[in-house]
Amino acid sequence: MSEPLLEISGLHTSFDTYDGKVGAVDGVELTVEAGKTLCVVGESGCGKSVTARSILRLVEKPGSIDSGTVTWHGGEEPFDVLSLDDKDPRLQKLRGDDIGMIFQEPAASLLPLRSIGAQLIEALRIHTGMDKKAARARAVELLGLVGIPDAERRVDAYPFQLSGGMCQRAMIAIALCAEPALLIADEPTTALDVTTQARILDLIRDLQARNHMAVMFITHDLGVVAEMADEVAVMYLGRVVERASVEEVFADPKHPYTKALLRSVPVLGRDRGRDLPTIPGTVPNPLHRPKGCSFHPRCTEAIAGRCDLDEPPEVVFDGGRTAQCVLYDDQSEGDRA
């Protein structure tokens, strides 16, 4: 294993609602290694976006980060982001300088009344201290780098004048302008066409190779995971239920949820015209988290009297991959720390 860049441990983030406190993130453990890509996979409501936002402390009321640590190793000394004072300069530096973030809806994350150039120039001036003229020249260069044709002219375009893919590239340019050590990409291609998606994925990979940047890529698309990931974390209802290398996850998934997910998604050239294996039921409301293993009501391998009562153990396999499931409890007893 190479050196960790970001370590999340025991993270709990919840939201106060009229119906009670919803534990969106319920004890997440994750590590992003320097220069590598971690894909976080899961369905809506599994807490993947909230986890990403918690890293930069962008959780707004009624949400709150209740406990856990987010250790940043990218500075001179490692420090816990969650225990920093709001005004701590290290927090400011983290947001945008050390960590860049892109979101799913580019049109919603760009200001509609300012040109993309103005927004990019502002980010450049804040993070790199360039003067206006240098920042503008750099902005044109960056827009060209992310594949916006005719950047010289497009720098003065407003978001509504650009297509979704173009806006997403502008977002990427803004996120990357300070050459961050980590890029957090939250479903950056979900709203885009496959052809545009292919170009954005290529772009992120290129930039990563050039800058030795780490990427935390949040998605529900297993195809994208296979294309992008070094490591994969599968989340379900606020927890990481399986973590392994991308080859391990696809060749030999351990957690029943991962297995079911891989089977139920139609794959080109594999599932023509046939009934797909399904996962019964739907993702439960986190307000009514099932007792024991959260997945047991939908799990075909659940053991009555165990999975519906006890919290699943975190099983560590040879090579370091993990799964939260009783099925592997005994066989790896010797390996467990």
């Binding site: 369905e43 809506s44 044709p149 297509s163 979704g164 893919g165 173009m166 066409d193 496959v194 052809t195 545009t196 998606q197 292919a198 170009r199 994925l201 290529d202 529900h220 698309d221 297993l222 195809g223 994208v224 995971v225 296979a226 294309e227 990931a229 991308v246 080859e247 696809f250 079911a260 997910l261 891989l262 139920s264 998604v265 139609p266 794959v267 080109l268 050239g269 594999r270 599932d271 023509r272 015209g273 046939r274 009934d275 797909l276 294996p277 399904t278 996962i279 739907t282 993702v283 939908r298």
Partner: protein
Amino acid sequence: MTATPETEPLLDIQDLHVRFPVRRNLLGRTTVENHAVSGVDLALRSGETLGLVGESGCGKTTLGRTIVGAQEATSGSIRYDGNDLTRLKNREKGRYRRQIRMVFQDPFSSLNPRMTLRQVIGDPLVAMGEAKGSELEDRVAEMMRRVGLSPDYMDRYPHAFSGGQRQRVNIARALIVDPKLVIADEPVSALDVSVRAQILNLLRELQDEYGLTYLFISHDLSVVENIADRVAVMYFGKIVELADTAELYEKPAHPYTEALMSAVPVPDPSLRDRGGRILLADELPDPSNPPAGCAFAGRCRYAEPGRCDTGTVDLEGGVRCVRSEELDLRGIELTES
């Protein structure tokens, strides 16, 4: 279950055009128009599922909306049951409204939040004066059971249900008046991956049971491959390729189909560096000023100046490309399930 070509098509679209006014002059006359659908010929066979794929903005949704009568056609004809739907008087339209139904993409915005499931699902029957009182209730209950919802939920409101359940409500509402043709516009795109398979299987089951014909609109090529008997590829308001699913996916005849297929990420990390992905420039032609010749020529890597950018290119033998005979295009590879 593909019908033989000799049978009379259920729905026959000929040279359909839909244009949207963009700008008018002082006298209110349209001076600039966007061509959303420009000359579509498409026939749906009874009992088949025809997939309609293409990037956002290609006109596939407009085509679907025009068939159900939610959008007026500028010219051309849609023949159904001996009548041209585009020329019907409002009074006559009612008859067809029950035979051609639509299922929308977003299960969250397409259901009235102030109506109970009983009202939402039963509304088409009430509106057509078909049933009331206990008969209405019986039919709603029966339909709910058919789509996998418990009739006990009849008096609850949509907000209490998950995306998958709401899509079942949408399907029930579409099918309760016993239609022949269902236009499904991205019916699973907004759903969690673990419930997509359930809805796809349900649509297949209902098709067999009620002898339905589907026009299945989607940008997701894996989903379309799973459910469709034939597939039409739409680009810039025109059908550029139409073929049986197996043929289209394994031996695409239009360069655009090939490029679309190559852009789909495959959930197998061992194929990551296989190459062969065709990257398309994302510059689409201006819809208010369509180019001469093939609309795809500007992005096509096989385009030949002087041949592809002049005159008109017709849909011949299911493909709209002057060079298709001489090209050896690559399709998808089949994988073991």
